[in-house]
């Protein structure tokens, strides 16, 4: 069996919308079997989707789904490159419907779209076998509870002919592992193979973080054309070699350093990275630069998967009130500190958790073009930031309002006030017995 190329077109919700097309064009130019993945679902994102769906039944999936897929949907369908993404978030069927509409609009017919469901575990949270982080179920109302599913449902959907697979909560590396399982025919006992696929998925799941994104440190770690970073492509071979490269764009780089930083990103014990499909051991992994922007990773080992599935549980988290105000010029730092003590006296009586920062050294004296308008601190600039977490919106607004009122009541020369109040979602995790979770796939079109 020859290798599979797996590309990534997004590493988080909010990623560059023009990243995917060069990846797909590079996959097509290289030829051979390939798949595209999109990772857009952070811990809290799914709960925000649940809240969005409360007011609009069609919402709850990745808000940028259509702009993400519009540039690549036709290219992938005509080249036979399946698309796998967790952009279904809290509404995979809604996402599938949006993709079907986009295909119609673009004259692409009716592509075969599958959804992976069963990650929602809100109905089983009373089971006494569930182990809660911090040992107790949260007291606040639960908004969402979703188990991280594994890669086999994705593989089954692809083998059933899906051109697009839409998931909700799923282990991020599974987005790549699913197509690899479908390509190579691995089963759940092929632990070292599943480990290789999981490591490939882990390297891809944050998009540009393995190709020079989140890496630049001028004079130490320079990145070519950071405004046009090529997103990653991993070629996974039957012998377990993972060759990491990037889309053919002028920007970014792949070298030992970018790959090593990402191998250990969000890892705790490197001998036991827990996923739904396998326990990944990276202690024997080696990296080798074999050509420009080409790194070969070998040596992933797999051990038995954990007996439980991790679930992220989101609860109401109160309301965060924030306000900022700037002071500049002579005695700026002293006036900023006076503002801070004034705010503490005013807000301290409210039932909030309070933090006050003195941000930065220079901002408001500069021109739009960045020309310096004055000296650095202490006679430069300081921005005072208040953050107050309250149970209710009104209290959070009252705290933020104290920053606004510094315009007329605070120290001399304060300016540039911004305030905001945001609803917060808190998250915790729970370990759920596998028999309580029933992943399933459905072909929703045609």
């Amino acid at each position: 069996m020859g290798p599979l190329l797996v590309g990534n077109g997004a590493g988080f919700s909010g990623d560059r919308l023009d990243a995917a097309e060069p990846v797909v064009r590079t996959l097509i130019a290289r030829g051979g079997p390939a798949a595209m993945t999109f990772e857009t679902l952070a811990e809290r994102t799914l709960a925000l989707g649940v809240l969005a769906r409360e007011t609009n039944p069609d919402a709850g999936h990745e808000p940028a789904l259509v702009p993400l897929l519009r540039p690549v949907l036709g290219l992938c369908l005509s080249a036979g490159i399946p698309i796998v993404g967790n952009f279904g978030a809290a509404n995979p069927r809604g996402a599938a419907a949006a993709i079907a509409r986009l295909a119609g609009e673009l004259g692409l017919g009716t592509p075969r779209i599958a959804v992976v469901e069963g990650d929602d575990v809100r109905d089983v949270l009373d089971d006494p076998r569930i182990v809660w982080e911090g040992s107790a179920r949260p007291a606040r109302p639960i908004i969402a509870a979703n188990a991280y599913l594994g890669a086999f449902p994705i593989a089954a959907a692809l083998r059933a002919g899906a051109a697009i697979v839409v998931t909700g909560r799923i282990a991020d590396p599974a987005l790549a592992l699913g197509p690899l399982i479908a390509h190579f025919g691995w089963n759940e006992h092929d632990l070292d193979a599943l480990a290789v696929g999981t490591l490939a998925g882990h390297l891809l799941e944050c998009g540009a973080q393995v190709t020079g994104g989140y890496f630049g440190d001028p004079g130490v770690k320079d990145v070519p054309a950071p405004e046009a970073i090529g997103f990653p492509i991993a070629e996974v071979a039957a012998d377990g070699a993972i060759t990491v490269t990037k889309a053919d764009t002028p920007g970014g780089l792949v070298d030992r350093r970018t790959v090593t930083e990402q191998i250990l990103y969000e890892v705790h014990d490197p001998a036991a990275y827990l996923t739904p499909d396998v326990t990944l051991d990276i202690t024997g992994v080696t990296v080798a630069e074999t050509a420009p922007d080409t790194v070969v990773v070998r040596g992933a080992r797999g051990h038995a998967r954990p007996p439980t599935l991790k679930a992220t549980v989101s609860t109401e988290g109160g309301f965060l009130g924030e306000g900022e105000i700037s002071y500049a010029g002579p005695n700026a730092l002293a006036r900023a500190r006076l503002a801070a003590t004034t705010l503490r006296a005013r807000v301290g009586a409210l039932p909030v958790r309070l933090r006050i920062d003195l941000l930065g050294l220079q901002a408001v004296l500069d021109s739009d073009e960045g020309a310096r308008g004055g000296p650095l601190a202490p006679d430069g600039e300081v921005r005072v930031r208040l953050a107050a977490l309250a149970e209710d919106r009104a209290t959070a607004e009252a705290a933020a309002r104290e920053v606004l009122s510094l315009y007329c009541c605070g120290p001399a020369g304060g300016g540039g006030v911004r305030t905001a109040v945001t609803r917060r979602v808190a998250t915790t995790s729970a370990l759920v017995p596998r028999d309580l979770v029933a992943p399933r796939i459905a072909m929703v079109s045609p």
Partner: protein, 123 residues
């Protein structure tokens, strides 16, 4: 021997899960790997983060990669969904770790600088 910030010989990236932070620290050159293993210790990292009151610091060595993984518990003030800090993920904390002073043999430091120069002039 020369005292430099860790930033002079290594690079780093943070990740977060809940209230737990991990920081991977990677040697720029194999010759400074012993400096990392001997001087970037759990005790020194705990001291560096003392203001955040860590409950545990564990260090994992990955000699193949000339990297070590620091796992620091309960320093994110609740984590991204609970912290009042602007940087609730703790993403900027990799550069706090890179302020740690280390003592480096002059030859090893020269080897790092040669490596960085070579990378900077990559075609």
């Amino acid at each position: 021997m020369i005292t430099v910030p860790l930033h002079a010989i290594a690079h780093a990236r943070t990740g977060d899960k809940g209230n737990r932070l991990n920081v991977v620290v990677i040697a720029h050159h194999p010759d400074v790997w012993p400096v990392l293993t001997e001087q970037v210790t759990e005790a020194r990292i705990a001291a560096l983060f003392a203001h955040r009151r860590p409950t545990a610091v564990r260090r994992y060595l990955l000699p193949n990669l000339h990297a070590l993984n620091l796992v620091i518990d309960d320093v994110l003030e609740g984590g991204v969904n609970a912290a009042l800090n602007l940087d609730g993920h703790g993403k900027t904390l990799s550069f706090l770790v890179l302020t740690l002073p280390v003592v480096v043999p002059a030859e090893a430091l020269a080897a790092v600088r040669a490596t960085l120069d070579a990378r900077a002039h990559r075609p």
